[in-house]
Amino acid sequence: MDKMPKWADVVLIPLISLFLAALLSALVILGIGEDPVAAVKLMVDGALGSTYGWGYTLYYATNFMFTGLAVAIAAHAGLFNIGGEGQAMLGGLGVALVCLLIPWPHWTLALVFAALGAGLFGAAWAAIPAYLQAKRGSHIVITTIMFNFIAAAVLNYVLVNLLRPEGSMDPATERFPEAVHLPSLHELLAPIGIEFSKSAPANVSLLVAVGACLFVWLLIWRTPLGYEIRSLGKSEPGARYAGISSVRTIMIAMLISGALAGMMAVNNVMGEAERLVLNATEGAGFIGIAVALMGRNHPFGVFLAAILFGFLYQGGAELALWTSIPRELIVVIQALVILFTGALDNMVRMPLERIFLAMRKGQN
């Protein structure tokens, strides 16, 4: 007998946690002498009030879908992949190499191969921690943290010493050729008569991200491989009993996870910046953790949570632009969301369970 209904676990708890996080965030805004209502209004206005705002919200959401899915799929295998940031950085390198080294005739082809390149590089960056976890039991949380730092160093080296164009002062690659320019939502929607902001960076990668959500959903809940991943995540001895190779499954789950994180680069590197800069990921790999926690590791939940965080991100940028509230406010909000949905969920769950138990006793 469960202590409470499933919907309470899946919907009610995250919502209450989110509410608590929002409440505390409001207190923080009050604490720095600003008006939380005005701040929220500005955020909503800036992030959702125009197609320009939506364009940025969806652009960020695209990033977070990829990294959130990456965290989620690893979590299904019982692994905490904190390495999304590093994997996404390397994914950027993959995209840059694909876009710069090969003269693509059309963006569609470039997109496919850039996604492959990003996935490959991201997966490769996840492969070593995955292998060490699977074969040697090295704690993947620590190894992926270490690999984030190593990725930053590698990218730094590559951008400064190898890919920086002659005579440029920026540690960044040169601009990708015009041919690999991905159509933005403006360009996609104009033919069907929808006016979408021209300057917002949301682009066709959004569709790729939505596709990835669907793919992960099918994979996890509808394929034998997903079944194996979930089984391993729930019980390692069980997996051994069922003939599910933990090494193989950990490797596959982490490779997919790394590939998804890496594919974020299609959006931010190829779709937006159109060149690879330092710190292109802007912490999206870490936000993936919050997104997956919020979304309860379900692709649909990840989709919704990614949009929520896209909103927070764009809203936060607007705050920084138009008020004296620093952008770090969203880091605080993000921290509170992770704290309440991830680490303190028992604080919500325990009393809730008691309430449901009492309600059931009352009925009997």
Binding site: I32, I142, M146, P326, E328, V332, Q334, A335, L336
Partner: protein, 321 residues
């Protein structure tokens, strides 16, 4: 490299190893008690800010130190509530605390000082000043040992000496006191401690609070001794390097000191030299930056002795049948 350069390099190693060492010992207490802590970074950062802020406001560095420790203890308490009382995921709690510190420090700094997330530069009594060991001046003339004593050993801030004294103290507490025995036991098998009539929760909170205390000193050192004020993100990953050192040291105090000195040396080298020529090959500075992390992965991979964490580490304690 001449003798003086080497002394200088080691001198800077000591300075740079100090925050690592304090944070590493902090992690050691927490993890030995079975509470994983990837929030060392956040606690240090918070402490760095509050120590600098209070030192700037009062002009008294000791008050700053206290404030830094207090803020770090607050975050440690939060980690305790999440991972001990509510049996939450310790790793996630640590991640949240890191973000919380990264955001709150800048937010508060901006609110208080309007300097884009910094504190004003600390002057005079707002900073820890070098602390000269006895006879440092008069012995500096003695060949070899003179410079070693007066340049390398003497002239650091008092917190440096505290950090290095904390090593034998940690060893002594862990292995020679009742508290230490219980603390180690609770990290290995909390049920054994519980059935022996000792409070698991109490012990773990104590460990987490000691962790907070040491992280607080580490943060205060960064902002009020190593530098003169807070700038955002000034911990720059030191909490993670400390974590790496902790694994490298396999959770043992003396080894922790060795690991921190090694990583401090790597930082010192990376700070002073951009690219290093070694027998014809150039080692890029990025390689030096990444080396502590690479070494940690190698250790974790078990190629150089296996790092076995405390057995109950990371697991919330639930009484079971």
């Amino acid at each position: 490299m001449d003798f003086l350069t080497i002394i200088q390099l080691l001198d800077s190693t000591v300075r740079l190893a100090t925050p690592l060492l304090l944070a590493c010992l902090a992690g050691l207490f927490s993890e030995r008690a079975g509470i994983f802590d990837i929030g060392l970074e956040g606690k240090m950062l918070m402490a760095a800010f509050f120590s600098a802020a209070v030192a700037a406001a009062t002009g008294n560095v000791w008050l700053g130190l206290l404030a830094g420790i207090g803020s770090s203890l607050l975050l440690a308490g939060l980690h305790g509530v999440a991972s001990i009382t509510f049996r939450g995921n310790q790793l996630i709690s640590g991640v949240a605390i890191n973000f919380l510190a990264a955001g709150m420090t800048v937010l508060i700094a901006q609110d208080w000082f309007q300097q884009g997330g910094r504190t004003p530069s600390l002057i005079g009594g707002g900073r820890f000043t070098p602390f000269d060991l006895p006879f440092a001046e008069s012995l500096s003339g003695v060949p070899v040992l003179g410079p070693v004593y007066s340049e390398l050993l003497s002239g650091h801030s008092i917190l440096v000496y505290i950090a290095f004294l904390a090593v034998p103290a940690t060893w002594w507490v862990l292995f020679r006191t009742r508290f230490g025995l219980r603390l180690r036991a609770v990290g290995e098998n909390p049920a054994a401690v519980d059935t022996a009539g000792v409070s698991v929760v109490g012990l773990r909170y104590a460990a987490v609070m000691i962790c907070g205390l040491l992280c607080g000193i580490a943060g205060a050192y960064l902002a009020t001794a190593l530098q003169a004020g807070f700038v955002k993100d000034m911990t720059a990953g030191r909490g993670f390097i400390a974590l790496a050192a902790l694994i490298f040291a396999k959770w043992r105090p003396w080894h922790a000191m060795g690991a921190c000195l090694l990583f401090g040396l790597l930082q010192a080298i990376a700070l002073r030299f951009q690219n290093i020529e070694l027998g014809g090959i150039t080692i890029p500075v990025q390689a030096m930056d990444a080396l502590p992390y690479v070494l940690t992965v190698v250790i974790l991979a078990g190629f150089v002795g296996k790092a076995i964490p405390p057995r109950a580490g990371g697991e919330p304690y639930v009484k079971e049948r």
